[in-house]
Subunit: 410 residues, 2 copies
Amino acid sequence: MNAEILAVGSELLTASRIDTNSLWLTDQLNAIGVEVTAKSIVGDDRPRLTAMLLQSLERAEIVLITGGLGPTEDDVTRDAVAVAAGKPLVFQQDLCDEIAAFFTRLGRTMTGNNRRQAHLIEGFDSLPNPRGTARGLLGEINGRFVALLPGPPHELKPMFVNHCLPRLKDKFPPQHIAVVHFRVAGLGESALDALIAPVYSTYSNPVTTILAAPGDVQIFLRALCATEAGARELADDLGAKITEILGDRIYSRNGSDLATATGALLRSRKETISVAESCTGGLVGQKLTAAAGSSDYFAGGFLTYSDAMKADLLGVPATVLQAHSAVSEPSARAMAEGARKRTGSTWALSVTGYAGPDGGTQQDPVGTVYLGLAGPQDTEVKRIQVPGDRERVRELAATSAIDLLRRRIQ
Amino acid sequence: MNAEILAVGSELLTASRIDTNSLWLTDQLNAIGVEVTAKSIVGDDRPRLTAMLLQSLERAEIVLITGGLGPTEDDVTRDAVAVAAGKPLVFQQDLCDEIAAFFTRLGRTMTGNNRRQAHLIEGFDSLPNPRGTARGLLGEINGRFVALLPGPPHELKPMFVNHCLPRLKDKFPPQHIAVVHFRVAGLGESALDALIAPVYSTYSNPVTTILAAPGDVQIFLRALCATEAGARELADDLGAKITEILGDRIYSRNGSDLATATGALLRSRKETISVAESCTGGLVGQKLTAAAGSSDYFAGGFLTYSDAMKADLLGVPATVLQAHSAVSEPSARAMAEGARKRTGSTWALSVTGYAGPDGGTQQDPVGTVYLGLAGPQDTEVKRIQVPGDRERVRELAATSAIDLLRRRIQ
């Protein structure tokens, strides 16, 4: 079963506003096994809305339209849907009386343009709105399920749950959905896909979606079945096969991010972490402390941008800095060991590199970062090379540092 | 002139993801006088994308398509647009060589599926992508301007600005636009609007847009005129009136963010800053070092989550911590003074508070943050109370700390 969502309102086509109702509606629809296959946003433009609605009706069994049900001239949804349905708008005296009563309760007077809201599309049902004057509408066009819902979320949500959802469930008895959500570090999108596509592409259910951000790839497996246990089994079956291929590159099975997953590992081991950051300037610490309760494992940190601070705060020997520079394997090593010693933490991560746009050497150009991890037994240092601008280098360096720790303790 | 934007990606149809590229693109298009009249989001579904594109081409002179240009089987944009154009996809050996070279530079090997990215639609031009392997494509279908752009924002934005926008301007010569872009700290959106709406609402040109994020409000004044000087004069006239009202709450007139604007002030004064962070865990340092060249003014920092670290690393007296707790005026003061002393910086900022969800006291509930600023003459401490969740408290605390410094030195 598939649905499309149409959001109506010229303000949703500006650079500063976004349609968020559709996210909530998607969650509601997914929960009854309905997939959202397209969303559109259209301004307060009657012919355009009619045209887009007719096209949605060709593709989807369910079309939800939000917004444009207000009392003013630029609220065009009722008119546009009536044209698409080939039905007239009919004035309803009882609705008009209700709207007038709503204003009376607020101690205000109904204005003439509110009469627009007392019109129904012939053959459609009206949905009550205890929080406003915009009635919802529900009906069929060419056998497709069509609902008109108000734009304000506090009016939309109760109306959908109380009056639209029950009708949807009657018409489309719900399927069950099970989701497996992996997060993976240390692999690019195409390398990951090359590894797992031979497996997932043989399944049409679950549907596999891969979503990539710098240093972080997410895999969603979404299984549909008439029973909950059946959906779970389908999702877990493919999940197990992908786990077999990716092994410890999977850092999370519940959607939690890398820092949170790593923090949970530290907590379970009753261990602590400190950081010594140069080019990331606090980003590693910020990530590790973003989760609530991170004081359980975050011992402290040092932001040492200059050579002098690396020497003073972390005890990096001046001879190391002079002989190898601050961006080097020995400096990363000494920074991590210094942070570990000065905070008494179990582990310490260090990051030193050229984030750009200036700096770098022939051997270590911009984008080169040394990551150190000092632990109870020894210290390891990893050199990475990150393409992209300053923001991306810092982001990937921070993520890679945390992943270095995760792999050591997982 | 009107445009439609099509975002491609099944992940953008889930309940947890939203297309934000279109907001940035809308801003870019509006700036050259192009209006966005509809936006759509479609999954990784070739026939559906082709159908929706054909419909957009009937309604709009410009269609921008984002996403779906990756190397994997579910990246369908090239195929779908080729079908809509009625043109074949053509393999380009030179593009394939470039993609291989990109992998070589990263020390990795190109996988077979990246060959998909070396295909062009016949008659379309290829747009360079220095940050990834997905080339953009640009061409015409039925006389309409069509561009295919990559989904990741750090690839999309430079490609659009450098290669798509110039071609758009050639085809649709823009009116002259002058923009004044203020950024304002220390005022909420509605309080700001109450101050300046009486002035800007009397102007229909420039158009005023207010964009709010936690701790940061941006004001755009956009004037349109047939001549450049005329547009400039219109924008500056309203800009001067708004400056008169807001005074030093305006921290930037060129769009640069608070940390960058504050860093520029420090650089011009040849002064330095260090930080002592508790609940923000590195966020202040990360913001202050996000700008290139921040080593000119960022001296260093301390991430001191625990009382022990505040005492050891910053020299906060144990008596202060015991008598007043770590979240208090005297602790914030001692942290800032300790950081300033240990780094030798001109200024030092400290942040200590209850970011939540747990913690807090009756007098200082969750959301209470003390900000310290130690300087050559004295130390000031400010107590703020931030509503919202952990992320918001940390974000607003970090921003407020930097603004404390900016106001002192501006």
